[in-house]
Structures are given as C-alpha cells and as structure tokens.
C-alpha cells in the first residue's frame, strides 16, 4: 500500500462557543485523491486549516510523512510539504498575478534575486499543463472571481507540494476547467502525491476522489473507498439519518439534478424593469456591457448563465439602480432586492448586529421611522421576522452578523432582500458556498415569491449551470458583454456551454 502522507487524529478546536472540530480524523495516502464532504459548519475548512498550518488545534495529533509535527503557521506547513488552496482568497489584490505567484516562494533563500523572471516560465508551463489560464501581468484586483480561483490553484501547484489541499476549488470554474483540473489532480496522485479535495457537490467528489471522508458536527463519521458508497449514503452521513429525509429535496440540486419543474408555464405579468440599448464600462474603461436590451416581467425567473466576468456584475448593478448607464436607457423599479455574490463584503456589515443589518435595507424606508429618526423597535421586529421565517440560526437579533455561519449570513441576506423585492429581485450566485439544505431553501424561496400573484420578477445570475437550468423560466447566456437568448432546444449543459464559449474575451 502507498504510504500515509498525512494523518490527523482526534482534533479538537473551538472558536468561542462554537466547536468547529470535536475529534475529527483524517488519513491521507500518497497517490490518492481524497474527497472531504460535509455540511456548512461541519468543520471541513477548519480541518484543512489544521493541515495547512492556519488553525492550531487544541487537542489531537498531526503526523506528516510519519513524523509528529506541530505547525505554527502556513510557513511551517509549506516547509512540511503541505500546499493549501483556500476557500476564501488569500491573494494580494494590488499585486499582479505573477507577483502573487512569486510571493513567499523561496522566501529568504534568495531574497535579492529577481523572482518574477524565474516564476514566469514555470507559471506558463503550469498553465499550459493544466489548462488554467490567467493573465500574469494583470493586477489581481482587476480579475473576476473565477480568475482569482485559478490563481489560487496555480499558486499552490507551482510549488508542487507532496500534499495538495484544495478547499472548494470548483465553485467558480467552468465545466471544462473543472474537468481539466480533475485530470490534473489525478495525474498528481499518480505521481505519488496526496490530494485532499473539499467540495459541496457530492457528484464532483465522486467523479475524482479515490476515497471519501465525511464530517458532521466536527467529527469524522465516515471514511470509505469510492466504490463503497453511493450519493444517498453520503447525504445521510452528512446530515444525519433523521434529517436526511427532510433534505432529500435538496439532494437534487446538490447532485446536479433538476428540482421539480421550473414554473415556466405561468403567464408572466407586467414589465417591471427595462434595459434598452445599454452600455456600461468597467473602472478600467473597458467595455463591460455592449448594447444590452432586456425586459423583466413579474413572476418570471430570468436566468443568466455565463463565465464570471462577462458583464454579469454590471448587469446586476444596472438592474438594481447602483449603476447608471453611460449610454442607453435603464428603467428600474423602486422595490428592488439585491443578493450580492460576496455576502461578507457586500451583503452584510460584519460588525453590525442582525437588527442593524436589517436597517441597512430599511434605513430610507418611510415605515422605518418618522422624519430623521429611526424606529428601532419596528426594525427589530422586522429582523425578528426574518430570523424566524428564514431560520437564521443566531442567539438573538442582537448578535453580530460576523459571528454567523456562512449559510446563516446568506439566509439573513436572502430574507431581507426578499422582503425588499416588491418588484424585482436580482441575485448573483445566491447559493455559492451554501450547503445542500441552504441551497434548497434559497431555491424554494425564489420559486415561492414568483408563484404568488403580483410577485416580483427575478433575475438570477449564476455560474452554476445546474442552478440556472433548474430555476429559470427564461434562459439567457452572458458572454463578452452581450446577452444571448438560449433557444428552447439548447437548454442543456452542453448547449449553454457552447454559447458561453462564444465570446470569452469581453474586452475589445
């Protein structure tokens, strides 16, 4: 048998009152791709953090290549051959891609050398080998989420660590990129390295992993060869036997299937928003939207698929009135809800409590006070309503939002924005990073509001094809700053994928 490259046993780690790890185990062999599954909050990222030197466990043992080690920081982890690709980006935005790739590499050993000149050819070779292509000389801050994810992966790959750990690397990649990444991971495993992969999507893990470990509530509940498990067994392990039946509805979306039938049969209502020949530019001056026209009616879910950075962002900002077009006409209603894709940065204020985060949406609402004064008791009621109706798990509405789990933060944002979306809801990747249950919940809510008489229209911008396919009554593809209508016959992953490839370079 191949050697055990990393072994984590009996890990315990608490963050304040939250116990993230309660005796988790993980054993990784050289030559395997090891999938780690678990609900949000199950402790996946913390477990990987321990391996990557980011989190120090309170109890438990860590062995790498058979030696007990204590990792005092990421630096130690690198030294022991562990390369961690983070879920949240750990790039320096104001540096170029190449500089980010060079950072920390050979640190200290050759401090006065010109690192970029040596890294560039290596980076180019790695890009060619993996099919992950990024512009090396652009600033990271100018890149979209997908490109940033590619940089993160390249950064780790370039160091060719014996143990490569990837935390949700696929969420923002195109299907083709996911495929080539998986090919690469398998090749790395064949070379004798160990690859640890965390993902939400069971099918992805099953597609690539040799073995699977499932975490629930900070404990390892299952470790098995790929052949020894099926999706339903994994789901039961993830959510627990009792809850499994209740979340069965979510399983469909999580495994790539379609949840029910999209409510496309309903008659769409009055027009609530219109874009007519609209253009928009990026901060750099490059064109982001080229002559876009669109009408949205009540009750319809307009799905917009596409690779990150093709103008979806600008489209969302236009529709929500946060951007006015330099050319063309945008007519948007007042009652717009907006679920931004990066909830920790744009959806909530971390240091605000739930009530104050509710006020973020309500502060200019005439109902929220009299004259210049705010009616906090009323806003508190609204927050309470969102908390109970949308199942936001928090001690009370006075809790700081940054203390909530990602899924609960998203529930808060979704609940708040649904309340605000009297006429229109614009959602950017609303389920990214959410677990099965939370994803199902968001999907159900979108379906609910659009099926009510006089409900709002919904624009769903998502890079997740399964999601768009499942929810949309009308399907568009955004590519190169243009909107393309998806013909009825092309409503498949492959069909959409072809349309998406039509124009990957929006900057002309």
């Amino acid at each position: 048998m191949t050697p055990v490259l990393a072994s984590l046993r009996g890990l315990v780690r608490r963050f304040g009152s939250v116990t993230a790890l309660a005796g988790a185990n993980l054993e990784v062999f050289g030559g395997e791709v090891h999938g780690v599954l678990g609900e949000n909050g199950a402790g996946k990222s913390t477990l990987l953090g321990v391996l990557g030197g980011v989190v120090r466990p309170e109890e438990g043992e860590l062995e790498i290549s058979g030696q007990p080690v204590e990792l005092r920081g990421p630096r130690d982890a690198w030294r022991h051959g562990v390369g961690l690709v983070h879920q949240h980006f750990t790039l320096v935005p104001s540096l170029t891609v190449l500089e980010n790739l060079s950072l920390g590499r050979d640190a200290g050993a050759s401090g006065f050398a010109l690192p970029q000149t040596r890294v560039r050819p290596a980076a180019e070779r790695m890009m060619a080998r993996t099919g992950l292509s990024v512009p090396l000389d652009e600033l990271v801050e100018d890149l979209g989420v997908g490109d940033r994810q590619r940089v993160e992966i390249l950064k780790a790959l370039l160091r060719e660590p014996p143990i490569l750990v990837l935390d949700e690397p696929t969420a923002v990649l195109t299907p083709a990129e996911v495929d080539s990444l998986f090919d690469l991971l398998r090749e790395l495993a064949r070379q004798g390295r160990a690859v640890v992969l965390v993902a939400h999507k069971i099918e992805e893990v099953l597609a690539v992993a040799d073995r699977v470990t499932v975490l629930r509530r900070g404990r390892t509940v299952l470790t098995s060869e790929r052949g020894g498990v099926d999706p339903h067994r994994l789901v039961r392990a993830m959510v627990g036997e009792d809850a499994a039946t209740q979340t069965a509805v979510g399983l469909g979306a999580a495994t790539g299937g379609v949840v029910g039938e999209a409510s496309g049969g309903l008659l769409a209502g009055e027009v609530v928003a219109t874009l007519d020949g609209v253009r928009a530019n990026r901060a750099s001056g490059a064109a982001a939207l080229v002559d876009v026209s669109l009408q949205i009616r009540r009750g319809e879910v307009v799905g917009v698929a596409g690779v990150e950075g093709n103008g979806q962002r600008e489209l969302a900002l236009l529709l929500t009135g946060r951007l006015s077009p330099p050319a063309g006409v945008a007519t948007v209603p007042d009652g717009v809800g907006f679920i931004p894709q990066d909830r920790t940065v744009e959806g909530i204020v971390g240091e605000f409590d739930l009530v104050e985060n509710m006020a973020l949406a309500l502060h200019d609402d005439p109902d929220a006070g009299r004259g210049m004064w705010l009616d906090w008791p009323w806003i508190r009621q609204e927050a309470e309503a969102v908390r109970s109706r949308f199942g936001v798990v928090a001690p009370d509405v006075g809790a700081r939002a940054e203390g909530l789990s990602g899924g609960n933060q998203q529930r808060l944002v979704v609940g708040r924005e649904l309340r605000r979306a009297r006429d229109l809801l614009v959602a950017e990747n609303p389920t990214r990073g959410l677990d099965v249950a939370a994803t199902a919940f968001v999907h159900a809510e979108i379906g609910r509001i659009t099926s009510v008489e006089g409900g709002p229209g919904v624009v769903l911008l998502s890079t997740d094809l399964d999601e768009v396919l499942a929810l949309s009554t009308r399907l568009l593809v955004m590519t190169g700053g243009r909107l393309l209508e998806v013909p009825e016959g092309s409503r498949t992953r492959e069909g959409i994928g072809r349309l998406m490839l039509g124009g990957l370079q929006p900057d002309v």
Binding site: W78, R79, L95, G104, S110, A113, P115, K155
Partner: protein, 308 residues
C-alpha cells in the same frame, strides 16, 4: 535670479531636503509593510541627541552618525513593541512615542548639560566634494558638494527601489502591507517583516536626526527636529511610497523651504508666516495635481492579526 542666488538656493534645497529624504525613505519602507510610524519625530530627535552624544564621546562625527541611527532605531523599537507586539493603535502609540522622544531627549540633555542648557559645539561631518560632478554648472555644487549623508540618501533611493520592486524580500514587504493575511498564507512572517521594516525606518530617521545635528547645525538643541517627522510622513505620500519619488519629493520640499529664506534675504517684504506655509501649500497643489489616486498600502495602520 542671478546665477549665484540660484546655486545657493539649490544648495540650500538639498541641505534641507536630505534629512527629510532619509526619514521619509525609511518611513516609506515602514509604511509599505503596513505600519504608519507617527513616532518618527521621536526617532529623529533621538537620532540628533544620540548623534551629538556619540560624536562628543568619540570625538568622531562618523561614529556619532552611527550612534544617531542606533538611537533612532531604539525609539522605533519602543513603537514596534507596542504597535506590533501588543497591537496597540499605531496613531496613538506614535503620538506617545513622539512625546516621549521629545521629553526624554530634553531630560537627558538637561541631565548632561545642565538645566539651562549650553550651546554645544559638535564635531561635524564636513561636506565632501565629488570630483568632476561638483563642477557641473548650476546643480553640481548643490548635489555633489554635500555632507556624506546626502550621498547616502542618493544611494539609498535606487537601492530601496530595487529592494521593493525587484526582489523577493521587497515583494514580501509589499504583500505584508497590502494583505497580511494573504502574505501569511503564502508563508511570510508578517510581524517579523513589519518589525524590521519599522526598525529600519527608525534607524533612517535617526540618521536624519544625526545629519541635522552633525552635518547641518553642528549642535544639539531641544526640539531641533522641529516637526520634520510629520513633514517626512507627508513626503512619503507625495512620493507615492516609492523611494525614488520620495527622494524627489523631499528635495522639492527642501526647495520650498529654501525658497522662503532666499526670498527673505532678497528683502522681499512679505509676511514670513505665509512663506512658512508655502511648502505645505505646494504639497497640497502637487497632491491635487499628480499624486491624485495613488493609494496607501491597504493594510496601513491596521493592527494585525485582527483578532488574537
């Protein structure tokens, strides 16, 4: 302007600009690591006193300059221990370090030279003329007939530029100042880098103080730093955190100061207070004009790690 006046003006501009350049280049490195050291003034006055005492003790101005750099470094170490070690607020810590620096140097001075002070005569660093270059018309004597510390500042600007933008160490430093979490994830020792960057800035500020005492004034007086630490911080911004531009900005600032003395000596009967404001007004205009959207290091002045 007659030629001699212009030459004298340029010479004065460089003399006044050099201490600012030294302090500001050091602060630029410190700030690139995400630390804003408002206590720079304390390092400068510490360097001036350290330089004076060192030169008196050894009878050697060069040894005094080294002592000055050491004193500036020590003051910066206090700042670093509090702001990096304890993660105290950098602005308040810097304010306290400036106060403490001015107070303690005064106290040491009085303890050494009596409560009513003395007019101290120090061994000085004589100007060194660079053969050939100092003969260049107009700017030759201004740039190349200066104290050795001036040449140090000319040399440091490109060296520091190379360090910042062309070496792995410089890349780490910038990353630490922009995104310490990301730098740490890449294996960089954030606090270590910041600590050394702060000490380096303090040592250069100490050099600036030693230059004031040993190359410029030839004496020490309480408060003789006269706010140069704060001006240096402005110079860093004007120079966009780039050592080359910082040198240029410091010389421009020196020129603006020199201008007021020239105009007064020319007998222009203008209110001198307005001249004193001139360097600041020029800097404001320059900021409005070209520095514009240049950005400070993103993590500047933020304690790290955020939680502990």
């Amino acid at each position: 302007m007659p030629e001699t006046d212009l030459v004298l003006f340029l010479e004065a501009a460089v003399r006044l600009g050099v201490p600012l350049a030294l302090a500001a280049m050091g602060e630029a490195i410190t700030e690139r690591s995400g630390i804003i050291n408002i206590g720079l003034e304390g390092s400068i006055i510490g360097g001036a006193l350290g330089g004076a005492l060192g030169a008196l003790a050894t009878g050697n101005a060069a040894a005094g300059v080294l002592a000055g750099a050491g004193a500036g470094l020590l003051v910066a170490m206090v700042f670093a221990l509090f702001s990096i070690g304890l993660r105290t607020d950098q602005i308040i810590t810097g304010t306290a370090v400036t106060l403490g620096g001015l107070g303690l140097t005064g106290a040491v001075y009085q303890a050494r030279f009596g409560a009513t002070g003395t007019a101290l005569t120090l061994p000085t660093l004589a100007p060194m003329s660079v053969p050939g270059l100092s003969q260049i018309p107009w700017i030759g004597s201004a740039l190349f007939d200066q104290a050795p510390t001036a040449y140090l500042s000319y040399a440091l600007a490109p060296l520091l530029w190379y360090y910042l933008f062309r070496t792995a160490w410089g890349l780490e430093l910038r990353a630490v100042g922009e995104a310490p979490d990301a730098a740490q994830a890449a294996g960089v020792r954030v606090r270590w880098v910041r600590f050394w960057a702060t000490l380096f800035g303090g040592a250069l500020a100490g050099l600036a103080g030693a230059h004031l005492a040993l190359a410029h004034a030839g004496t020490f007086a309480e408060n003789m730093s006269a706010g140069r630490g704060f001006i240096a911080i402005a110079v860093v911004v004007l120079g966009r955190w780039n050592p080359l531009w910082v040198l240029v900005a410091a010389l421009l600032f020196g020129a603006a100061s020199a201008l007021q003395f020239l105009l007064q000596a020319l007998g222009l009967d203008l209110p001198y207070q307005l001249f004193l404001a001139l360097p600041y007004l020029l800097t404001l205009a320059a900021l409005a004009g070209w520095v514009g959207r240049s950005r400070a290091p993103a993590a500047l002045a933020l304690p790290w790690p955020k939680e502990r």
